[in-house]
Every structure is written in structure tokens, then in C-alpha cells.
Symmetry: C3
Subunit: 344 residues, 3 copies
Amino acid sequence: MSTKFRGMHILSVDQFQRDDIGVLFAVTAKMEPYAQRRKITRVLEGCVLGNLFFEPSTRSRISFGAAFSRLGGSACDTTGFQFSTMAKGESLDDTSRVVSGYVDVIVMRHPVEGSLKEFAAATNVPVISSGDGPGEHPTQALLDLYTIHKELGRDLDGLDGLKIAMVGDLKYGRTVHSLSKLLCLFKNVQFSFVSPKELSMPAEIVQRCRESGHQVQETQQLYAGISGADIIYVTRVQQERFTSEEEAERFRGSFVINQHVYDKYCKPGAVLMHPLPRDSRAGAQELSTDLNQNKRLAIFRQADNGIPVRMALFALVLGVEELVEQDNRPVRWFVPPTFGADEI
Amino acid sequence: MSTKFRGMHILSVDQFQRDDIGVLFAVTAKMEPYAQRRKITRVLEGCVLGNLFFEPSTRSRISFGAAFSRLGGSACDTTGFQFSTMAKGESLDDTSRVVSGYVDVIVMRHPVEGSLKEFAAATNVPVISSGDGPGEHPTQALLDLYTIHKELGRDLDGLDGLKIAMVGDLKYGRTVHSLSKLLCLFKNVQFSFVSPKELSMPAEIVQRCRESGHQVQETQQLYAGISGADIIYVTRVQQERFTSEEEAERFRGSFVINQHVYDKYCKPGAVLMHPLPRDSRAGAQELSTDLNQNKRLAIFRQADNGIPVRMALFALVLGVEELVEQDNRPVRWFVPPTFGADEI
Amino acid sequence: MSTKFRGMHILSVDQFQRDDIGVLFAVTAKMEPYAQRRKITRVLEGCVLGNLFFEPSTRSRISFGAAFSRLGGSACDTTGFQFSTMAKGESLDDTSRVVSGYVDVIVMRHPVEGSLKEFAAATNVPVISSGDGPGEHPTQALLDLYTIHKELGRDLDGLDGLKIAMVGDLKYGRTVHSLSKLLCLFKNVQFSFVSPKELSMPAEIVQRCRESGHQVQETQQLYAGISGADIIYVTRVQQERFTSEEEAERFRGSFVINQHVYDKYCKPGAVLMHPLPRDSRAGAQELSTDLNQNKRLAIFRQADNGIPVRMALFALVLGVEELVEQDNRPVRWFVPPTFGADEI
């Protein structure tokens, strides 16, 4: 297997070629029994993760920390909004070099775009981005792509010709940007970008999709936009994004996907995705809770996939992906048949 | 041994029958050599705890985390006051389901009563309550009962006929509510509820004790209230609970237990308990520090008991309680003969 | 080997005699292969650290946590500024005794001088100081001394006759106080204390150095102060320390060490140290970034040394220093040849 990932920083989806995705997903598939708690492995016993979150993101932090623990390693977390030494005038370079002397791999979220690249440039210890401000969140895009491939039951080549609708806040939602870029690695993708006009997909992403030979449709009409799609990827919209209350009101009325909308406007078997959190307050409900019994609602399986994808990334950058098969044993504690209470 | 606990949520003392307490305490006793650092076990190696505290409680968080570590597992902690995704409109159901995909067992403290029940209903991963607002704190009540049974050197049947005085803030102190409910499982308990009238035991607890066939005495007189008791369970009173400064003043003068009060008014050998923290500032001193050399002051042994009780709960809900005896070895690091500096 | 350290609190450099330093550094040297990730050991598997930081210090907290993890133990961290129970009137004695029932060794940073001594007096579980207010930070001084000895390639006896310049804020910088005290254990040290007059070394430290038979020079002239020194130990100056803007301005212009200053005024081979963080903002630059390619800039190796020194302290107070050689194996994950990106 490729040693290309060994010692690499994971900062952008642009680092990945189609072959790399193939390598990553093959390792991810091997990680599933551990993520699903059928087996345990200790290949990273003694290895230390610096899990550095300078912005609150409990979900991502626990996902990375749990993934690392499932490989046998130990995590040191930082959850403060400010790295105390940075407040004293320390450069990102110095912080990076000092932390590199303590830990073996670093996960970082930072509020300022570009800071991860600067941080990573100062160290040889692998740095994995968990998002920097409005910039990328590459591991989310990778787990999204893994989910698409798994939910549709297609191999990677089967993703050529994919029809995907992206719905909601396409302007500020960094996950849809990164996922669109990743999908550009495939052929003849049909993108349908569905959003209020204030929140439409940035021109450079649209252009990139088109220049890569894909079809792009942009629309403000939800029902037309989602019809025919294999994948409907919905994102949360923050009300403060709108310029007027009227516009927000119009949006609230027309961008809700519920079981009725699904039955009436979606292609049978269309897969519903969401990077989460979804807004379940009245007046939001971009993906209504009445879809919870719909077997094509993939949002929780999508979140679950964060564990094997992140385990695979840790294993690859630390070069232990081959060792997992030699060093594992069955889980002995009680594992429920499904994680969610109302799953079948 | 019973597999009743396997996969169970631990949310309320009302889930426990007398037989269940017997099972729990038998496992707790087996955990003592690990809690006292004479042996180590790794039965939960590879298992991940989500230790989610949405309210500050360093003590409980470390107690749960240390208990889980002593079984060999890894903890992912959250200490923020707000789960960041909840602020974005995520329902407790969604949060619960997502975290369940990451970890194998969840401990949660939440400021809102009822939220733990809602959270637990959405997951098949065992959830153990560490308190929700004014609601229950079941593991504290269980460790309190374990302490009573151990300090008095009686088996569970020996707790029939127990005489217990509860002193202090009986209105807001959730530990005295939960402990009273647990004691209702026994026979002929004599409860003495001692508090200022503003802070008396809620009527529904008193009624429950009486309807379960126990004797209840309510008094504002400390000395009369504690005389004859086998166990004196004291709680901290927050001054802001009083309606007038005079009332607070009166309270401060009359609800202090010190060595003099102990010698003069308590039954010889009466055991002094407190859920901690005790208020050691001048003017508070509900349990005076001059009792620190009194061998019947059980407050630190009571806190210590949190470790084996929580280890036992983890082992039972995860179904590994039988494995501990097969998988252990002696501690090799230095362990002091006593933990406290001035203990004998 | 000496068992003197077993069960000891590490609160002050004054606890160390010259022989103790020898013992500590011998164990530190044995820890280097683990700190440098060539080998792993699990001698402290099952052991729990309470990593209690009541003041923000991400760097020290991660350094202690990583050091403990590299010995195989598990850390429970507290990062809040206030121990929640302390706010409720709990005495340090009670907090200390309760935490001692949960964990096997405690690292603590506290904002109030003297609080660590009080905390440690109440427990038999070893307590290691990570600083209390303006008081001591003994592990920093120990790692500084280890760095001096290693960078100069001298054994401990070789430190007799050392010439060291300390530069910057000598009044508030607790690391220079502790290091000066430690160096008093050696013979004929030549101290050069270089600082603006507002920030000069406290008289009691100067006196102690002189009474121990060492030479002390105090100066406000940077270039004169550093000439001839084997070690130049620089500290960060906070601008708010100055009484006037003029004074601060004068300081900014005259206390910068850069490559030009190094070449012109330093003894060839002089080693540059700094406890970090260094202030890299324009107008600060007490150690200019243009020194980053200077092989005698030891600041990152100095930070790295925190890991083996802290591992050695944990191993000694927990009495496992002899077990490490029996219980280790090679690292199997990818380790970069150097941690910093631009190191040779």
C-alpha cells in the first residue's frame, strides 16, 4: 500500500487525487469493525495526540479524540478559545515547534483562515485540520464522500455520473465547498445548487465544477432543485445571514424538507445527508424530524463515518495502517445492536 | 450474576430494587482493591467514555473519569457550560445519537431537570446521570448508601431499623432526596429531618417515607434531631437561601456540628457524613474541622467510595463485572499507606 | 538507586541537593528514548494523574500530560480557572484529600503563592508543582539546568565555574529566581544579571548567590552583560511592568538579541535559552527570529527537555524508575527525523 500519506499534513481536500481517495477509503473500510466496536486494536499504544481546539467544537473534538483512542493512543485536549501563550505574543511557528516536542500528531481547529497552514509549515509532526475559520474542513468532506459511496453501494468509479443537490447556505457552509471540490475528481457529476440568492455557492466553486467538466444548475426553487438527485445534501441556515426579515420568512417557508416533500419531489431512494447540527427548532427544520424513520436519512450514519475516516487518516499519516490487522482482538464489553434507540 | 444492568441507563434511584442494590454492592466490593490501588485491571481497554459536563463539577467529573480509567478505558471530557451544537438549535435527541456513534458509555451532568431522561431515550449506549439541575444524582445516593453499610459494618439486611438524621438544606440538596428514596427500600427506618423551616424536606419525600412504613421526625432543633442517630448526614447551606439576614444569622449559630456537639449530643459511634464540599469558611462550618481527628468522620472515605461504586456501575452496564477477576495484576508504583496526610 | 524521591512532593528547588540533581538527571537521560519516540514504555499503565490547572497554561499542562502518557498512565485534566468546589467554601485541605482518593499523583498550578504547599500538606499522594503565582516553578528550573548541562556537553561537576547571563524581567520572572537558586548548589558560578532597573533581580536572590560564594554582576547594559557568558538566559518582558512609556521605549531599543548582536557581543558558542513563550511581535523580539538558524539557539530543545525531566520526576516519586528498562518496546509509528520543519 502507498506510503504517500506517511508524515503528511492533512489541510485541504486539494491534496487528494482520485487514487488517494481509493487508498483512504480502503483503509477506512478496514477501520469499520473497530469504529463499530466489534474489535479493538492498540497499534498506537504510547502515541500521543495534541487535540487543539481554539474554537468550540465539542462534536469534532470528541470524534477525533475517540478515533485516536480506538487506535490505542492517548489524547491531550485543549478546549480554550485562546492558546494562552499566543496571547503573550508567541508566533504560531513557535507554538507549533513547542507542541511538536510533546506530541506525535496534532489535530487543530483555529478561528483564523490560513493559520493552520502557517502552523503546519513549522513542524514535521503531522497536522490534521479540523477547520480554520471560513476555510476548509477536509475531514468532513472526506467522510461525506465516504458516506455517499457507502450509502449508494457504489465503488469509487460508480460515483462518475453522480447527481447531487446541495441545499441551504451554500455561501458560508464550508462543508459544501470542500465536498464540491472533492467531487470534481470524478466524471460527469451533475451538481444542483439550491439556495436563497443571498446564500448562493461562491462563483469560484461553480467555475471550478464547470471547468472540471461537470454540469451545474443553480436555483432558488427547492422542489425543482432536488428532483432527480441521488444525494440531497442539506445544510443549516443561520437567520442572521439574511438582509431582510421578509427574505428570511420566505426562506423559512420554502426550504423545509419533510417526509411529504420527500415522497412528492425526491427520486425514490434518494439519500438525505447533513453535516449536522441540524436546526430542529420550529421555524427552521431544514430536515424535519418526521424523516427520522426514513431509512434513506443517512445523517447519523454520516456522523458515525467520522470515526473510521479519522482513524484511517491517523493510521495513514502515522504509517500503521498495515499493523491493525496483526494487532487486534474482539470487544468483550456490551455493545448494543444499534446506537440510536429507534433504529431498526 | 444478574445481567439486568447490561445496557441500562442509570438515571434515577427509583430504578433500583433491594436485590439490585445487593448486586451493585457485591460488585463494588470487588472493585475496592483497584480503587485502593493494590491491583490494576484493563478489562475496558479500548472502551471510550463520553464524560459530558454541561455544568461545572470538577469533583464528579474526575471521579467518573478516574473510575473509568481504573477499568482500563479512555475518557473524552467536555467541560464547557454549553454544548456548542445545542446553541445552534440541535435537539437533545440528535446530540445523543451523534455522541453514541463516538463513545461506548456516556456520563452526563446537565443544568436542566429532565434533560437526561430525554437524552437517554434517544440512545442505546448506556447513559449514567451525574445530576440534572435540581433533579436526581443517583450515583451519589448509591455511594452514600454504600458508605452507610460499610461504616456501620452491617450487611444490607442490617440496614433495616436504621436511624438516620439528615441536617441542613433539605429543600434544595438533591443528595438527601435521592438517599431518602433509596432508604425507603429498607424496613423501619427512622428518619430525622433537621433543617431551618425555609429549607425543610419537600412534602412528597416526607410522604413517601411515611407511606413506605418508616418513621419521620421533622425538627428545627439540631441537638434533639441528631440524638440517637446511627448516621448523621450533613449538607451545606447556601446563605442566599434565607429570606432574611436574621434568619441566616440564627441558622449560623445553631447548625454547627463540632467535636463538642458530637461528644455531648450524638450517640457514641455515630457516623458523620457529608456529600462535600463542606463550607469551611468562618460562619459556616456545618461540620467543623475540629472533627478531622474523629474516626467516625466518614466524609473522605465517603468520597473515596465514589470510585468503586462508579467502577461497579460501569462494569455492570457494560457487562464486564465477571471479567475483572480474570484480568488483573498487582500495582507496581508507590502507593502511600493512607491518602490523607493526617490519617492513621 | 536512591529511593529518596518515593512519595515526595516536588514543590521547590530548595528540596534538591547536588546529589539529588545527579539522580534526577541520570533518570532523565534514561527517559530520552521515550521522549524522542524511539521506544515506548507502559510502566505506569493503570496509574491516574490529576492534572489540575487553576490558571491557564496550556503548554505546561500538555507537557505534564504527555510525559505521564509516555509512561503509560492516564491523565484527568482540569483547566478551569476556579475549582468549582473552592468557590463553595471548600478548604484546600478538603480538596486535596478528596482528589487524593481519586488519583495517584497530582500536578497543580495555582494562582496564589503558598497554596501548593498547603494543598500538598494535606495529602500523601505526591504533588508536583507547576507554579503558584509569583512563587516557584521548580520543574522549569530543573529542565533549564538539564538543558545547560546537555547543551554544554558537561557533566554536573563541569558546571562549577559556569558563566551565565540572565536577561530581561528578573523581578517577576519566577524561572530565573528558581534557576539561580539551583545554580547555588554548584561552585564559583559567575552570574550576570542584565535588566532595566525597574525589573532587577530581587535582593534576596542576589544575596543568596553571593553568600553561596558566587560572583554576581548587575547591569543595565545588555552588551556588556552578556559578553563572556557560556549561557545567555533571556526572559520575556511585559510592557505594563514599566512606570513610564519612555522607559519602556528605551528598553525596547536596547534589549533585543539578534544574530548581529550575537556575532558581535557573545562569546563564540554561547548558548541562547528562554523559558518561552518569547514575544515575537514587532517592538518586542527579545530573542529575534533571525536566530532560528543559529545552532546555539537552544530554546526548542529546552522545551523538549520538559518531557524527559517530567517523566523522570513522575518515575521517581512513583518509584518506577528501575522498571522502565524491563518494560519497553520500539515505536512502530512514523516519527519524523526532526520535529521542527527547518531543523537540520
